[in-house]
């Protein structure tokens, strides 16, 4: 999604009104309960919350010029990788084997066998259609944010095809957009 993303894909930047700000905050808190205690630091009530609308129904949530979350249409908010790196335990984790790393980093979706092979790992509580952190064999930090196409149990059982859509990965356009002025 962010493979060729840049500031040129931004169509508008708006400070949202208080009610919208509250709604965004609430849905982030619901999706990531682990983040709630630090939400006041991340999205300070007195700093304006900017919603950046981009091509393809993509929105970024930004504070002080730093993109923190993104979503598509009305879909769930997902943290940027830089934010996830700071709070790694807010999402369920799926792990790809080492061989899959280079494919994930070139933007490919995550195939089931990369998750079920000996180097992979699955959190059985991960359901279908939810944001997950994509980890990698032998690495400490996440390399991508994914959106599951099937549950972890189905990934294991079906074991073929795309298990997780690759939403955002290291060195993609969003990663490179550390700040948006």
């Amino acid at each position: 999604m962010f493979k060729k993303f840049s500031s040129e894909d931004v169509s508008s930047q708006n400070q949202v009104k208080a009610s919208v700000q509250r709604k965004i905050r609430q849905s982030i808190a619901d999706e990531y309960p682990g983040l709630e205690p630090v939400l006041d630091d991340l999205l300070p009530k007195k700093s304006p919350l900017i919603v950046v609308k981009c091509q393809n129904h993509l929105n970024l949530v930004m504070v002080n010029n730093v993109p923190l979350f993104f979503n598509v249409r009305d879909g769930p908010y997902m943290p940027t990788l830089r934010l996830l790196h700071q709070y790694p335990d807010i999402m369920k984790k799926l792990q790809v084997d080492r061989g899959a790393i280079k494919f994930v980093l070139s933007g490919a979706n995550i195939m089931c066998p990369g998750l079920t092979s000996p180097g992979g790992a699955l959190d059985d509580d991960a359901l279908a259609e939810t944001p997950v952190a994509i980890m990698a064999e032998g690495k400490k930090h996440a390399l991508a944010i994914g959106f599951t196409k099937m549950s972890a149990k189905d990934i294991r059982a079906i074991n073929k095809g795309i298990g997780v859509d690759n939403m955002h990965y290291l060195n993609d356009g969003l990663w490179k957009m550390e700040r948006l002025e």
């Binding site: 682990g34 205690p37 630090v38 790196h85 709070y87 980093l105 400490k140 930090h141 060195n171 990663w175």
Partner: protein, 199 residues
């Protein structure tokens, strides 16, 4: 309410911007290596081993050259000792200067690249090695040949000038006239993948 989670600080590589552990999958691992050796050696033990070997060599070389020049006492600390130990003579010669390492051959290479049959681009590499400012040179070339010329990063990350059109045969004269520091003997063409002297 739950405890505030402690935020994790990830070590990011300033060269490729990725977490240091992902440099090996980054766009140019080679470029990250020097920084990694300094700042994240535990992530790449092999790298450290390689560099330790080299580092050890370096230190012993330096010791040797220091020892020699001080005993010589003629103050030529930067020059290689002429009567140095035969085993390390070559390395010593390279090291005191430090930066010499791999000296680039001073030459200008001109290559014509044909794009879709008629259109072609003449690529000029190496003018910078003669102290020519590439942005300047590109403007002059564009003007002289009434065409588009631009400074671009070449495949090996070195800057080169791309000139639209086939100007390969007039360009030698223009270069030697405009920049007298560039001798004709240092200009080469690439023809059918072979390097041919222009002179």
């Amino acid at each position: 309410m739950a405890e505030k989670p402690q935020s994790v600080r990830v070590l990011y590589c300033p060269v490729c911007s990725l977490p240091a552990e992902y440099c090996e999958f980054g766009p140019d691992f080679e470029k990250c290596k020097p920084w990694l050796i300094e700042n994240a050696p535990e992530l790449y033990p092999d790298l450290l081993k390689d560099s330790n070997d080299k580092e050890a060599d370096k230190v012993s070389e330096q010791l040797k050259s220091v020892g020699i020049s001080s005993s010589g006492g003629d103050g030529t600390t930067t020059a290689a000792p002429s009567g140095g130990t035969s085993t390390s003579k070559q390395e010593v010669k390279r090291l005191p200067g430090g930066k010499i390492k791999k000296k680039e051959k001073q030459e200008v290479v001109i290559e014509k690249i044909v794009r879709n049959k008629r259109k072609c681009v003449t690529v000029v590499k190496g003018l910078d090695l003669f102290g020519v400012k590439l942005s300047d040179a590109s403007k002059k070339l564009g003007k002289k040949f009434a065409t588009g010329a631009s400074v671009v990063k070449g495949p090996t990350e070195k800057e080169q000038i791309d000139v639209q059109g086939d100007i390969a045969y007039d360009i030698v004269e223009f270069i030697t006239e405009t920049w007298p520091d560039v001798p004709e003997t240092a200009i080469f063409f690439i023809e059918d993948g072979r390097k041919v002297a222009a002179a």
